[in-house]
Amino acid sequence: MSKGRYGIHGGQYVPETLMNELIHLEECYGHYKNDPEFQQELQTLLNEYAGRPSLLYYAEKMTRDLGGARIYLKREDLNHTGSHKINNVLGQALLAKKMGKTRIIAETGAGQHGVATATAAALLGMECEIYMGEEDTVRQALNVYRMELLGAKVHPVTSGTRTLKDAVNACMREWTNRVEDTLYVLGSVMGPHPFPMIVRDFQSVISREARQQILEKEGRLPAAVVACVGGGSNSMGIFYNFIEDREVELIGCEAAGKGVDTALTAATIATGSLGIFHGMKSYFCQDAYGQIAPVYSISAGLDYPGIGPEHAWLHDTGRARYVPVTDDEAVDAFAYMARTEGIICAVESAHAVAHVRKIAKNYSPDQSIIICLSGRGDKDVAAIARYRGVDLHE
């Protein structure tokens, strides 16, 4: 078995042109991971610039309303740039800089990862180019302008389905074109090794904090940790330090779109099968001949036909459970969170909220559930309004 395996998943299914660069990246990461100076520099950026540690907030009204487990929200939405994406991006951009790269490129779906990457590039004085599906540039026009304000060049991707997977394709093609001075800052726990490992390590700060915070507040571990899953970076981040705590349930919420029994879905575990794509072996939504399926979700950030290899393995081993959540349920949860707790969360995160609304009552009041509130919802307000029949445009 080649490197970077999680059970049968993972690996490095990329063109030969990229292999030496991936090997080099792995070596550099291995070096800086154990370099106290690098870690100190990153921690300072996370604390002083991104606003970490993020709060673990006790959602009292929600707890009372749902009747059951005590609900906590890990507030990644309060990070600089408004989502968990900054955790990984600061790590990778700093790594790129140490490697002597002067340019970073990235894909983006909803625009969160693109904005975070453009932000890090501005901060660290690097050139930045973002690839975004043309359809997403329309859905998330404000984020396009945000990235441009931050000095990034945004390329609308017009090939294929014009969404996240095509943005990843475009980014991979660009990276094979220019590896010497460029690092591809992948936005999720996916792609070829070492990316799933690097992104997971940088995102694991979420559960390192959350585990300590919940022990301080509750004196015991949570009964469950719940997060939304597209590629799976915020969920991997909040799961990671709980994996060894066997009594903690890990639940990933996939975007079911219009439902897992329809073609308009992005729920990979529920509807996908084993395959090889975007540099990794994992589960993918695909047809009978292994053509990658066009997927759909109201949430551009979860609109991806695959799932990171470590999630695929957590699924295989039964350590984590993956459940589908529909557009309707997510939009309801989005409004519920706003009304109940005064928090407008990302529609991605609302998928996790929706599932907890269903299961909270199955737990007793001396148990707790942590929801990873992966991002804030400003970007989604207009789309949610339209979904609910209000003719609102940005």
């Binding site: 080649s2 490197k3 690996g11 490095q12 299914y13 990329v14 063109p15 030969e16 042109t17 990229l18 292999m19 030496n20 660069e21 090939s159 294929g160 997977k165 095509d166 394709n169 991979m172 093609r173 094979t176 074109n177 220019r178 590896v179 099968s273 084993l274 395959g275 090889i276 794509f277 975007h278 540099g279 993918f284 695909q286 009978a288 001949y289 292994g290 053509q291 990658i292």
Partner: protein, 269 residues
């Protein structure tokens, strides 16, 4: 002698100083009938090996020209079974009977999903001698290699401008022929190719007798002649796919003329 040493690929390069012209097209672009016809035209024009692309929804190693061909083929309903049917018809109609050597070029997922054993059994049955899978580097080749070997299909190794110290590791285990990638980036026509290909080929030849052909970016007879001079052959894809994109169902004579001119250029190398 193993099945692979004996397969048609080795015969392509067997004659001393014979330089190969390898032509590519995407199966089902614009229709399966056209693909059969165009393959036969290329054979008639003197192509030594024809590489048939099995279309994939997300061909990450391809430039725009071949990406678009993949989309056209898939929109036309092309499937892996459809590609095998094209090959069957070619075998039936080919002037030289089973003469023209054929290779597939596709991505890991269509093969993996079809079922590795089932896929290569079909290849063996139809006399497809080699397969090129750009998202299957040396480290991952065990995914397909053992099964391909068992069916006498050569899994072609690719060597890129960035391969450096990996060149000889890859070359030592190469089978069929080595696909030397001329340039960084994806497939597509290029005006200039600046990689030091001669030293790459020299490094390869220190460790193996497996022939090497150069591809990516080649479109003119001059480029093809040069590549064939410094290696064992030239591979041309995007330039042919472009002719098909422009000519649609009427591209036969343009393809014939182009392949003939390229083959002549390569023969002069």
């Amino acid at each position: 002698m193993s099945k692979i040493q004996d397969n048609q690929i080795s015969r392509v390069f067997q004659t001393p100083n014979h330089k190969a012209f390898i032509a590519f097209l995407t199966a089902g672009d614009p229709t399966p009938d056209c693909t059969v016809k165009y393959i036969l035209e290329m054979e008639r024009a003197g192509a030594d090996l024809i590489e048939i692309g099995i279309p994939f929804s997300d061909p990450t190693a391809e430039g725009v020209v071949i990406q678009d061909a993949n989309i056209r083929a898939l929109q036309g309903g092309m499937t892996t079974d459809g590609v095998f049917e094209i090959v069957r018809r070619v075998r039936e109609q080919s002037q030289g009977g089973a003469a023209i050597p054929l290779a597939f070029m596709t991505y890991a997922n269509p093969v993996f999903h079809y079922g590795c054993d089932r896929f290569f059994a079909r290849c063996e049955e139809l006399g497809v001698s080699a397969i090129i899978v750009p998202d299957l580097p040396y480290e991952e080749k065990q995914e397909l290699e053992k099964t391909a070997d068992a069916h006498g299909v050569a899994l072609v190794s690719m060597i890129a401008p960035t391969s450096r110290e990996r060149i000889q590791m890859i070359a030592r285990e190469a089978k069929g022929f080595i696909y030397v990638v001329s340039s960084m980036g994806v497939t597509g026509v290029r005006n200039e190719i600046n990689t030091d290909l001669e030293s790459m080929v020299k490094s390869i030849r220190q460790v193996t007798d497996v022939p090497c052909a150069i591809g990516f970016g080649i479109s003119t007879p001059g480029q093809a002649r040069h590549m064939a001079r410094i290696s064992d052959g030239a591979i041309v894809g995007s330039a042919i796919v472009k002719i098909i994109a422009q000519g649609g169902e009427q591209a036969a004579s343009a393809i014939y003329e182009y392949v003939k001119s390229m083959k002549e250029a390569v023969a002069q190398a």
